[in-house]
Subunit: 204 residues, 2 copies
Amino acid sequence: MSVNYPNGKQYIPNAAANTKIANKKKNESYSNRGMTLEEDLNITNEYYREKKIAVVHKKPTPVQIVQVDYPMRSAAVIKEAYFKQASTTDYNGVYKGKYIDFEAKETQNSSSFPLKNFHEHQIRHMEEVLLQGGICFVILRFTKEEQVYLLEAKNLLQFWDRMKTGGRKSITKEEIEQLGYYIPLGFQARIDYIRIIDTLYQLS
Amino acid sequence: MSVNYPNGKQYIPNAAANTKIANKKKNESYSNRGMTLEEDLNITNEYYREKKIAVVHKKPTPVQIVQVDYPMRSAAVIKEAYFKQASTTDYNGVYKGKYIDFEAKETQNSSSFPLKNFHEHQIRHMEEVLLQGGICFVILRFTKEEQVYLLEAKNLLQFWDRMKTGGRKSITKEEIEQLGYYIPLGFQARIDYIRIIDTLYQLS
């Protein structure tokens, strides 16, 4: 059974995460310090949904359930389960009728983005989505610099192929600056990727 | 915390489920007896993916993780978790660039389909998807009769409204026959919903 813990991070249940976000917002005047990319994207997607701009959700973490208890008069309790490797990307949804699909990753590196952040399954999924005419990309964050870029899946696939044919195992910062689209940190749509999609696909 | 066990069914891990499907296929000459709607749809979606017809996945079951153990030299074990109510539908993906989104439900009833099979959250999600120009529907199975129908979300929403304004809490079989699209059980694309989508939206 293929199991792993997706990002090596401590799991924060939703309620706690939300409180954390609320507190952060209050204490740090909406700065991004300490917020994960996932938290920023959740806020962005919630904003898109509320404003009827787009409907995008993060998929639940895939879990292989092994044992479930059914106590009398209370909810079923999962007593043994394992994290599974995702077979798709984490985010998908609809924008103006079009299918959009992306993965979001961050790195502590400053000079390059390691490709080990992606799995073979996810790369295959991106290829399938592109073939089906979907809009597919990755959102890459350089955590230390707090810089976020959108890179189209077609470019990521080229770098993946370069690695597979013996080339470097990362994308250089220069390559990302050249081919990707910088997303400045916003206020409500914190990572306003839809604006980039609009420009790229002339949807607005 | 809102928790529930999605369909009141015993959980079958993937590996076991696949074996079960394989055995069923062998022993019952591809008849549908005993196969769940989910199993049929997984086979259908796998076929669509292999043939590059569409890319549709079932979302993982949402789970609220409470406690995780990290044993030395082995995979993280989830020791306490609960089933959460889904905030979206179970299936989504891309077909010819368009976003498609659906929920699949079955009933033991013969004369009507109870609306309690759907949750308020899912209904809101369907409204949002339609507003964004996505293709949204439900797949309804009458288990005893082994009859499967595709009903567009716009129709489901009308029946939901009827219930909310004091009307009946189910859709009659006649209404489903009249407004829905019967999907005959197929061989490889067992529940060939894409064919209906093609007809409805002139995508082919």
